[in-house]
Symmetry: C2
Subunit: 337 residues, 2 copies
């Protein structure tokens, strides 16, 4: 009875004569519905496939229980033989606003990571994951960690103390320039008449004839950058990974090459730190950072030329933009007379 009523309604709408009723109309309606479903299915199949990183982002959004992935960052800190500094630094960084999680890349092969010690001194504001590595490689910190849920990475060397105001400000700058490395340590490459490149900092002559200096790289060991670049790094030619493994150096130079190449403009933005310290002199481990090795600087120049060779061009671009926080320290925009 109900069906007939429905059918009658349909018929009123369809304006079909009363006598051509019943099962025929019902069948017709069902066929129409089926066809519509098939068409919808076909259209869905024709839609552009969702990009992989968008899927990853969606998953991250669900995982992070509604926390937006642009609003917080993950600290990745690689450590080797400086556990006293590491723990001191973690005590500082764990309380930085907008920090989502810490991933410690534990390069002390054969030595257990201090998970127990860490947990015994809890509770802690955010999760800290100790990732035991199988080999002591510089590029271990550039893996695509499954625990990483944010769009932004804060990468810091295990002897570098960056003040909280510096981090809060630099993160806000990164949010405005999410495709670039926003960091505290600028470096540059210079061309020579022979076409061979050299690597250096302020002590080198700035390219061009204008005033002031230029930089073409921002070192990742004190910086914010987009976590998608970790995937980019993994996809680089084997020669790039081999270069970094051979030198135990230059992973940051490679990252600048990759990003400059990808975005077609300068890879990084330099934010002048107000309060940033290197604590390496304070370690009891007796271990000095890699940059103390005699060949360190020469290796960096070597890497630049090798990378130009691998990529077939010099993608790094110069910039002279230095960003500071307006009004911090107080009245820093006033002229010093």
């Amino acid at each position: 009875m109900k069906t007939q009523g429905l059918v009658r309604m349909c018929c009123h709408i369809c304006k079909l004569p009363g006598r051509v009723m019943g099962i025929r109309v019902l069948r017709f309606s069902l066929v129409v519905i089926l066809v519509l479903l098939l068409v919808a299915g076909a259209l869905t199949a024709l839609l552009p496939s969702v990009k992989e990183d968008k899927m990853l982002m969606l998953r991250r959004e669900i995982k992070s229980q509604g926390k937006s992935t642009m609003d917080s960052f993950t600290l990745i800190m690689q450590t080797y033989n400086r556990t006293d500094l590491l723990l001191k630094l973690l005590n500082h960084y764990q309380a930085v606003p907008n920090l989502h999680k810490v991933i410690v890349v534990w390069n002390n092969i054969g030595e257990k990571a201090p998970d127990e010690l860490w947990n015994s001194l809890g509770p802690h504001p955010i999760p800290v994951i100790f990732k035991q590595q199988t080999a002591n490689r510089m590029r271990n910190r550039l893996q695509v960690f499954p625990e990483l849920e944010t769009s932004a990475v804060l990468m810091v060397d295990d002897d570098t103390l960056i003040s909280t105001p510096d981090l809060v400000f630099a993160f806000s700058v990164w949010q405005q320039f999410p495709d670039q490395i926003v960091g505290f340590v600028p470096r540059k490459h210079v061309s020579t008449s022979s076409g061979i490149y050299s690597y250096g900092g302020f002590e080198m002559q700035a390219p061009g004839s204008g005033n002031g200096d230029q930089y073409s790289m921002v070192l990742i060991g004190a910086s914010f950058f987009n976590s998608k670049y970790l995937e980019f790094f993994q996809r680089q030619p084997a020669a790039v990974h081999a270069l970094i493994d051979d030198t135990q150096n230059c992973d940051d130079i490679a990252m600048n090459f990759i990003i400059a190449k990808h975005i077609g403009k300068t890879s990084g933005i330099f934010v002048k730190p107000v309060n940033m310290d290197n604590l390496e002199k304070e370690t009891n481990s007796g271990y000095s950072g890699m940059w103390h090795r005699a060949e360190h600087a020469l290796q960096r120049s070597y890497c630049i030329n090798k990378l130009v060779n691998i990529y077939g061009s010099m993608p790094l671009k110069y910039s002279n933009i230095m960003i500071s926080q307006f009004g911090f320290p107080y009245a820093n925009y006033k002229r010093k007379i």
Copy 2:
């Protein structure tokens, strides 16, 4: 004979038999050509109409004899009763790199502009146009001057001396952020619990609870901005123009409102000047700038609230980004210990 030769060629191409030659084929060819022209004409009429500012840009490119409109800028300097300062400043600004032309907005009604004096002291590096005004209005400098050919305007008050390195650097920053006002004088608005806004500078409490200060406007009287915003200004409601005429003030506040509203982000970027001076104390004219009037600051707050009323919202957005030139003055990125 020639025509027949051509026709024969056409026939060879068309593969028509030799006998069906002559006038018929010629007529046919002409008809075909006519039809093609008609079709082309019809297609052109169907093309999307070229936007007005693109047309303007094309005309500018032709006029500027191949000079790219993003690579140079036009100085617009409005002047009232300070001709000694004006001429001193013009002597400085005329030599700034990448300057295309100067437009002097001559607000000294009834007094002849110093064209003759200027020409007698030539030759000059670039053209300087003196635009005699019919009324002494603050907003005269925001007209769409037909002589203006560049995408960028450098607007400077007639008592402001900005060093060449500052200008060269700020222009390079504008080229990277061409939709924002890139300038040397930041100001802000503050909210109060009553919802009434107030205008001020560093002396006012920064909004929010973070470190440092914020700005929400960059004053146009020492800045680079996109010349298209002059057209935008002209198209504003009559109430905006009336407000500026009534107060002889606030044209710069209005520009910040317009731009912030248009781009949906902060209207300007503050570049910290290394060497910028106000020369008003040096004038022999006895005339003090408008900002010395007793009601000047109160008027600025008044304007903000009026503009919010006219536009129906507060479009200004805060920023704390301060840009300096890396390495100028020398080693300015080093910490002062």
